[in-house]
Amino acid sequence: MLALVLLAACSRDAEVAMPAVAAACQGCHGPYGISAHPAIPDLAGIPEENFVASMRAYQDSDGGGVMARIAPGYSKAEIAAMAHWFAELGAP
């Protein structure tokens, strides 16, 4: 069982290569963008356009939450690279 999970994990990286800029996201959102706790959402499987729209909304937000403070640090190209990878991972 464990071996199967590991193979799946390895093939995930081999098939859908991770951009370095998306590595830090997984600290809060969980490895491969799969969160173990409902207070922080999954990123895996979010459609690219939804991811980009959410990050833009956070950039324009003055709500004071963590993502409203993190999103303004990233460029359009960086957000596009994250969005593509998390979408390609597919929903858990």
Binding site: P19, A23, P38, A71, P72, A81
Partner: protein, 428 residues
Amino acid sequence: MSLTRRAVLQALAGGAGLAALAPFQSSHAAAGTVVIAGGGFAGSTCARYLRRLAPGLRIVLIDRHAKFVTGPFCNTVIAGLREMEAITQDHRALAAEGIEFVRAEISAIDPVARTVETVDGRRWQADKLVVTPGIGFRWDSIDGYNPAAAEVLPHAWPGGPEQIATLRAQLLAMPEGGLVAIAAPPNPYRCPPGPYERASLIAYFLERHKPRAKLLILDSKDDFSKEPLFRAGWAALYGNRIEWVGRADGGRVAAVDVSGRAFITAAGERVAADVLNPIPAQTAGRLAYIADLTDASGWAPVDHRDYQSLRHPNVHVMGDACDAHPMPKSAFAATSQAKCCAFALAAYFAGADYDGTKIINACYSLVAPDYGISVTGVYAHNGADIAFIPEAGGTSPLAAPPAFRAAEADQARAWYANITRDAFGVAG
């Protein structure tokens, strides 16, 4: 790294960091040995991301402990909100992923020959060395405080399960109407908001179990991390139970009377307390010193594109031990730096380009179980240096409804669950 390669990286550094955007194709073909000394958040994260990015590498992770008690959430155990087991991680999942975990005490690191020796006489030869020892204590910073004294008056920073359990036991045993005194350290140190989260959660415990007791923070600084948010939280939840004395008002603790259970301040004032928690000044962990990676500051200077030591090429240092100012010494910063280093090492063994990436710090503190506050930052390298991006980052709003604080407290618990899975995996 060759001079040519360094020149290429320097030429690229002014750009947008294109390699950070390109998907990194992991390569089974890349071969070599990486030896990682220290299995905390930085070392374990580096090992696991390197495994993902370069499955063909031999990765050896050496740590003297079988179990790792985390700094994050240690204050919930001190306050009786969580059991020790809930903040105890290990390296079983890493071993199952093919990372060679070696439990041994390191006796020598040669940063030029790239070798590591353990006290049991074993020796490893690495192509690339990673040294992630975390912090050490400056035992000369509080007169009379030393490793033996710390067994009586624990720093619990976090220093293993005994330190935390001892502080917890002393809080339970203290008299009604007693006094808890925390000596907060000077900058820089591991987890800047930590002493103030500790004060908060101990106050939460006192409210319920020692309702007439007080808590005093004697500080070596004149201000502290998330200060307005902590002060607002303390006023809302704990009235005047917590008193803070800054350096300018004589708050710096110069000495401790261990048997007399008292702090002595720099001005000579004696402060007796029922529970004393001296948190000493800090420096890079021992392994950074034996590997000759520290400079006069007591921390390890690094190139923030790849966390390579500025003193010894082919040796990388991340986490609390490296000088990452203006990034704080936090578990999240350590993991973020470790991933950046893992990409750099994977690129090196694959013969690919990598010129660093933006990294994040995201830290939550609990003022109470349903009252969380946070600080964030996004950082970019500027040549070999690292810089805070001013358009991003900052703390939770000072004015926010209880539901906002409760949501951030829930996020803090989610953060812990996810960052520990990211760094240590899940043992099967």
